[in-house]
């Protein structure tokens, strides 16, 4: 049985995967949810939602993600990572919520997979040359070895003489789960490959593939011929199997979820690392002064991202910068970012613009999402200023794909300064450009956009500092509550005052440390071997957010909103400090 687990088996026909369908497959007792995304990729997943075990084969294939029927959890094309949990719309799901995937190869009109197949799917020489044509699958209630044995007795006519009687059948190869038969009648001959899919110990699917597609006028008669004859053979095999003892059903192992998911997932701790390697597969000028970079993985599949997520890019010159992903849902073969050339660049954007070329390999972090998108709004407004479009583009694409009401207001100098025009075009009438406005005109326009707040509307803003401040203020003046306004700064332009010195207590690590003037909490933690996640390290991105248990914080970041700041229960350890002599952190 073990050898069966290490082999490739057909589990579906290509025709079982029409547009946005989800197919229920099974192999060696294990069920699969098999679905094709709109980009053509075939996903073979364990047929269970990680949440409550509901079959994903009854889920909804939206072309980019598979959505579980029960609680609406969404899993991304390719990675099977969870991108959204509707019960907690303001949270970004833990990156480790990832369903089990199995290899998938589509060839000869069939989809092939296996538990842990060795090597590549072997070529089947008989099917390499012609135009293979898969027949209707025939399920049989009998063990696979019995079916394989009896299939050697299958008799059929060649395609070109389908109504004849006198064909000679030769069994050319017969091996475990795979037979090659040749039917010769006078001048004409046809090869038929029969693959035996062991569904369970007493259930098998026979998948026939003709080495050559019949002529169109013969097609129906050829298909009927095989359908009838294979069905008759099935009846004989099933009658024989009925006389044998019924084998125990197979018990596929259901793997346990990781330990950190067993309780409510918390943010995983990791330093500022760059475990991924990507190649710049394309670099182009997507707008005046803005470079588009398409990053493809070197080796492994890229991890799942969520709309609003950013990556740290470690540049050849040693600098680290954060860039938002612009990808749409299910677009998991690459990350695409937009980089604006900053005139007062400290070397980051200059390096990306001038030094990085197509073919270069960059080190990047896994995507982090500190700007999660809720999908439970009655309407969502996006306000983008300049390069602030990038995270909002990814968000708007997710809502657009799911037909959720939204407007994307894009403030830009001119049409030629608008980034990713080809993507904007696909978003259609949801995009509202506001071009060439001065600050006063921008304010007037924002007032018009934000004047009609209704409960359960949400606003996402990203852009230059002054515009962001203006938008937040106008929204607040028009009755938008703090928790409906979501924002992301590119950078913290506040002057950071690091003159204070104080003590920090780490509640969980049971440590007391001194933070001297001139040094950040984060740096002190690192020096003492406490690993905490961080990214921008200037109080803008939100990655180092830490729960504050006691003490009065001196907030110097631009990530937290006013009510979060005044709540006094969280702090950004990369820039913020203490007004009291001591802070107790939940670390």
């Amino acid at each position: 049985m073990e050898t069966q687990h290490r082999k490739w088996h057909p589990i579906a026909a290509s025709s079982d995967l029409p547009l946005r369908h989800t197919f229920h497959g099974q192999l060696l007792g294990r069920e699969f949810a098999v679905w094709r995304a709109d980009d053509g990729y075939v996903n073979v997943w364990e047929n269970r939602c990680l949440h409550r075990g509901v079959r994903l084969s009854i889920g909804i294939n939206d072309g980019a993600e598979l959505k579980c029927q029960y609680h609406g959890w969404r899993y991304a094309n390719r990675t099977a990572g969870c991108t959204y949990i509707p019960a907690h719309p303001a949270d970004a799901p833990a990156r480790t919520i990832c369903n089990r995937t199995y290899p998938a190869v589509e060839r000869y009109g069939l989809v092939w997979s296996g538990e842990t197949p060795d090597g590549e799917l072997p070529e089947i020489s008989e099917l390499e040359a012609g135009s293979p044509c898969a027949l209707r699958a025939i399920p049989v209630n009998a063990p696979a070895d019995l079916v394989t044995k009896r299939l050697a007795e299958y008799r059929f006519q060649p395609n070109a003489k389908i109504d004849g009687q006198g064909a000679e059948i030769t069994v050319e190869t017969a091996q475990d789960g795979h037979l090659s038969l040749s039917s010769v009648d006078g001048e004409v001959s046809t090869k038929l490959l029969l693959f035996v899919q062991p569904v369970d110990s007493n259930r098998t699917v026979v998948r026939g593939v003709l080495s050559d597609r019949p002529k169109q006028e013969d097609e129906l008669r050829v298909f009927l011929h095989h359908s009838r004859r294979l069905s008759s053979l099935r009846d004989l095999i099933e009658a024989e199997a009925a006389g044998l003892p019924v084998p125990e059903p197979m018990q596929p192992v259901i793997h346990r979820v990781s330990e950190e998911l067993a309780s409510m997932p918390e943010q995983t701790l990791s330093g500022r690392t760059a475990p991924l390697r990507v190649e710049v597969s394309r670099k182009w000028e997507t707008a005046a002064g803005i470079a588009g970079l398409k990053l493809v993985p070197v080796g492994e599949q890229l991890p799942t991202f969520q709309p609003g997520a950013h990556i740290d890019v470690h540049m050849p010159n040693g600098l680290v910068r954060q860039y938002s992903l612009t990808n749409g849902p299910g677009e998991t073969r690459h990350y695409t970012i937009g980089v604006k050339l900053e005139p007062d660049s400290r070397g980051g954007s200059q390096c990306m613009h001038r030094e990085v070329r197509e073919g270069d390999v960059l080190a990047i972090s896994e995507p982090r999402n500190n700007f999660p998108l809720r999908r439970d709004a009655v309407k969502t407004l996006f306000v983008a200023g300049g390069i602030g479009i990038t995270p909002l583009l990814s968000m708007a694409r997710a809502l657009h794909h799911s037909d959720l009401p939204h407007e994307l207001h894009y403030f830009s100098q001119s049409e030629k300064h608008m980034a990713f025009p080809e993507v904007l075009e696909r978003l259609g009438s949801g995009v509202v450009p506001h071009l060439g406005l001065d600050p006063a005109e921008t304010g007037k326009q924002l007032k018009a956009i934000l004047s009609r707040y209704q409960p359960a509307m949400h606003l996402y803003v990203c852009g230059p500092g002054p515009m962001l401040e203006a938008t937040r203020k106008i929204a607040a003046d028009h009755g938008w509550p703090d928790n409906s306004i979501h924002f992301e700064y590119f950078k913290n332009t506040n002057e950071v005052d690091d003159s204070s010195s104080f003590e920090i207590d780490l509640a969980r690590s049971v440590m007391t440390l001194q933070v001297p003037a001139g040094k950040t909490i984060l740096a002190v933690l690192r020096e003492n071997g406490v690993d905490v996640p961080s990214s921008c390290e200037q109080g803008a991105c939100g990655t180092c957010l830490t729960t504050l248990l006691e003490g009065e914080p001196d907030h110097q970041d631009v990530y937290l909103n006013e009510s979060e700041k005044s709540s006094g229960n969280c702090i950004m350890t990369c820039v913020s400090r203490a007004k009291s002599g001591r802070l107790v952190l939940d670390i």
Binding site: E31, H51, R52, G53, I58, Q69, P89, P265
Partner: protein
């Protein structure tokens, strides 16, 4: 799986408890009703005298039985406590409705867990108990009471048609209560008299480890609603749950905390599974040890 012999290992608490085995309204005098409890065949008969008998064909003996709340109850052991006390059943301004018995091909414990769950409302009971995009499950509290019941309080959820008489959507308050391993109830705000609660009790009949029958019992205020509508609404809701529950895999409820992935909204289920572990209830469950 099905081969385990019931009296050898069935938890005493379950063996000695009362379980609904039929809705009396669905039984006719003199016509035998065949059913199962914990995998044991039972034959129930109602006589013209209105007496009842429940017999085990495997032993030829009768088992303990009684009629209450419109149901026929049986116990395979020696009951040391009565069926659950329902005080609302004495309030004269309520309809007391048996909701029709619905067989579901899944462990009864999975059914209880689904009853405790709000997160599925927008997806399974679309346009009735929930609707997208109102999917958020706000924090709520869970506790074990001094008499060892599981109470879930301060549950709130936006519902477009919370009950048959609701006009338009509103935030509905819920209280859930697990009374016994296979008995659960909920109390939700009545749309007309928001200070009073309608209540629903769910008595789950464990047919075997992977099959159950849901017997709902509804205590709805009569104000503005008739009995048939109450029953129709409940059957609609249960019929929406059934196909989802029958697609849960494995069919028994896993008690290993790492078998599935709980989120904050699942606090009630996390507590329920823990509570079952502490009661050493394994019937219909996959134990943590495997």
């Amino acid at each position: 799986m099905t081969a385990r012999r019931v009296n050898d290992w069935l938890e005493q608490e379950l063996l000695d408890d009362w379980h609904v085995i039929a809705d009396l309204e669905s039984m006719e005098v003199g016509i035998d009703r065949r059913t199962k409890l914990f995998g044991v065949d039972l034959v129930a008969t109602v006589f013209a005298t209105s007496e009842i008998r429940v017999e085990r064909p495997d032993t030829g003996r009768s088992v303990a039985s009684q009629k209450k709340y419109g149901f026929l109850w049986a116990s395979l052991g020696s009951p040391d406590r009565d069926v659950v006390e329902i005080s609302e059943a004495r309030e004269v301004d309520r309809h007391l409705v048996t909701g029709g018995s619905i067989a579901v091909n899944v462990s009864g414990l999975r059914l209880v867990e689904n009853f405790l769950d709000m997160g599925h409302f927008p997806f399974i009971h679309t346009d009735y108990l929930g609707v997208e995009p109102h999917t958020e499950v706000p924090p709520y509290s869970v506790e074990i009471s001094s008499d060892d019941e599981l109470w879930t309080r301060d549950c709130r959820f936006f519902q477009p048609v919370a009950s048959p008489t609701a006009k338009g959507g509103f935030m509905v308050d819920y209280v859930y209560r697990v009374i016994r391993p296979y008995t659960v109830s909920l109390y939700k705000s009545n749309p007309n008299q928001q200070e009073r609660m309608d209540s629903i009790y769910l008595f789950v009949q464990p047919v075997d480890e992977e099959n159950c029958v849901a017997h709902p019992y509804l205590c709805y205020l009569k104000d503005g609603i008739d009995e048939a509508t109450v029953r129709w609404f409940m059957q609609l809701i249960f019929a929406q749950d059934k196909p989802i529950l029958e697609n849960q895999f494995p069919k028994r409820l896993p008690l290993d905390p790492r078998a599935e992935t709980p989120i904050r909204a699942d606090a009630s289920s996390v507590f329920y599974r823990r509570w079952l572990r502490s009661h050493k209830i394994n019937y219909g469950a996959i134990t943590a040890a495997g």
